[in-house]
């Protein structure tokens, strides 16, 4: 969760990590990421955690909230 918040700040999508918690939405009326920004987050996670993510396997619910994306990453790391 902390990494996701840090990365959102690094991408200048939020101004401070204090502004997000696990329930903060990533899409729509939350932070409002577009598909390019979602992809950047995925690419950054791949590089940071040495993962390979197949975009066709990604579901919108993984990006519903910051917490959901963090959980998705944890599951991917456990599986790899």
């Amino acid at each position: 969760m902390a990494w996701v918040a840090d990365e959102l700040r690094a991408l200048r999508l939020i101004t401070s990590v204090e502004l997000v918690d696990e329930s903060t939405g990533l899409l729509g009326r939350g932070i409002g990421l577009d598909s390019m920004e979602v992809l950047q987050l995925v690419v950054a996670a791949e590089e940071e955690f040495d993962l390979t993510v197949d975009e066709s396997q990604l579901k919108p619910e993984y990006f519903r909230t910051v917490g959901a994306f963090a959980t998705f990453l944890q599951e991917r790391m456990a599986a790899s």
């Binding site: 200048r12 999508l13 899409l27 409002g32 577009d34 598909s35 390019m36 992809l39 975009e55 990604l58």
Partner: protein, 310 residues
């Protein structure tokens, strides 16, 4: 075909009334496009357009009102009704161009490229280049032909349905647009429902490899949209091209295709758009969209009948 694709295919309608109407319409235009010389198209298209606008009064009135809203304050433009008539004529002429492309020898016109030095400069930066094409009637086929003729090989972002019907017949009719355009492209990256991320990754990878990518500024699709004031009205645009540019560092070039006559067109590449790199990401994206719309305004004001409003 994956299980998901097969399911989608199964659920798709075979044909819609709109497809049948379009198929009949194109069937009528085909002999015109193949047998009548293009220099005679303009008066014929104008006559067809006046008849269609008169017959289809209800839909036409909405378009006239929209034209009045957008262009009402512009100097030296035709009346809103005349803009709609000329715009409809331009659409028919565009269909003739596509159909003529299917004839041996194709459709030939003089297409000049202005501002190609901006593309050369962008590619020399080795961070990719995005051609952000304005929605004029000539913005689709003519832009691709013009860039190809000048030696540029473009990867184009397209929708599966090309903005038309998604029925099986609709997709067949869609090939009338796709086939001629494909001749002038290095590659089409086709975005369908549910694979936006995969196709976004494709574009991301192409730009990182210093490709030239074209994206048309249409107001229908996008996870995030920004509304800008546009002449007397508003223009709501997806943020994709601007966001892709900021993510990859690719140069973003507003581009517009203008019709001067039935056989003379100009593809104009404007200088790069930039945003303050230190600003909040979404503010920077919004700023790029607003600046893009401002660059498009003068062309729409001078050629209102060529602006492909929807």
């Amino acid at each position: 075909m994956t299980g998901q694709d097969a399911e989608a295919e199964h659920g798709r309608a075979l044909v819609s009334r709109q497809d049948v109407a379009l198929a009949i319409w194109l069937g009528l235009l085909l002999p015109l496009s193949w047998l009548v010389p293009p220099r005679l198209w303009t008066p014929i298209c104008s006559a067809i357009s006046r008849a269609v606008v008169r017959l289809n009064r209800r839909a036409s009135e909405a378009r006239v009102e929209n034209a009045r809203h957008i262009f009402g304050d512009c100097d030296d433009v035709p009346t809103p009704r005349e803009i709609v008539v000329r715009s409809s004529a331009g659409r028919v002429e565009r269909q003739l161009q596509y159909l003529r492309e299917l004839r041996p020898g194709g459709w030939n016109a003089h297409i000049e490229l202005t501002g190609g030095e901006h593309i050369d400069w962008a590619l020399a930066q080795e961070a990719g280049c995005i051609i952000w094409v304005g929605p004029t009637l000539a913005g689709y086929l003519v832009t691709k032909k013009g860039l190809y003729g000048a030696g540029y090989r473009v990867t184009h972002l397209s929708r599966m349905d090309h903005g038309g019907s998604e029925s099986l017949l609709g997709r067949q009719l869609n090939t009338i647009r796709v086939r001629p355009e494909a001749r002038y492209l290095a590659e089409r990256v086709v975005m369908g429902d549910g694979d936006e991320l995969r196709r976004t990754r494709d574009l991301y990878d192409r730009l990182r490899a210093n490709a030239l990518v074209s994206i048309t500024a249409v107001n229908r699709f996008g996870a995030r949209m920004v509304t800008s004031s546009f002449l007397g009205g508003e223009w709501r645009l997806p943020t994709g091209a601007a966001s892709l540019s900021l993510a990859t560092g690719a140069t973003l070039l507003p581009t517009i295709a203008v019709r001067h006559s039935y056989d003379h067109f100009e593809v104009i590449v404007e200088p790069p758009l930039t945003a303050d790199p230190s600003s909040d990401r979404h503010a920077a994206v919004d700023e790029l969209v607003h600046r893009y719309v401002k660059r498009m305004e003068p062309y729409a004001a001078v050629h209102p009948e060529q602006y492909d409003e929807r």
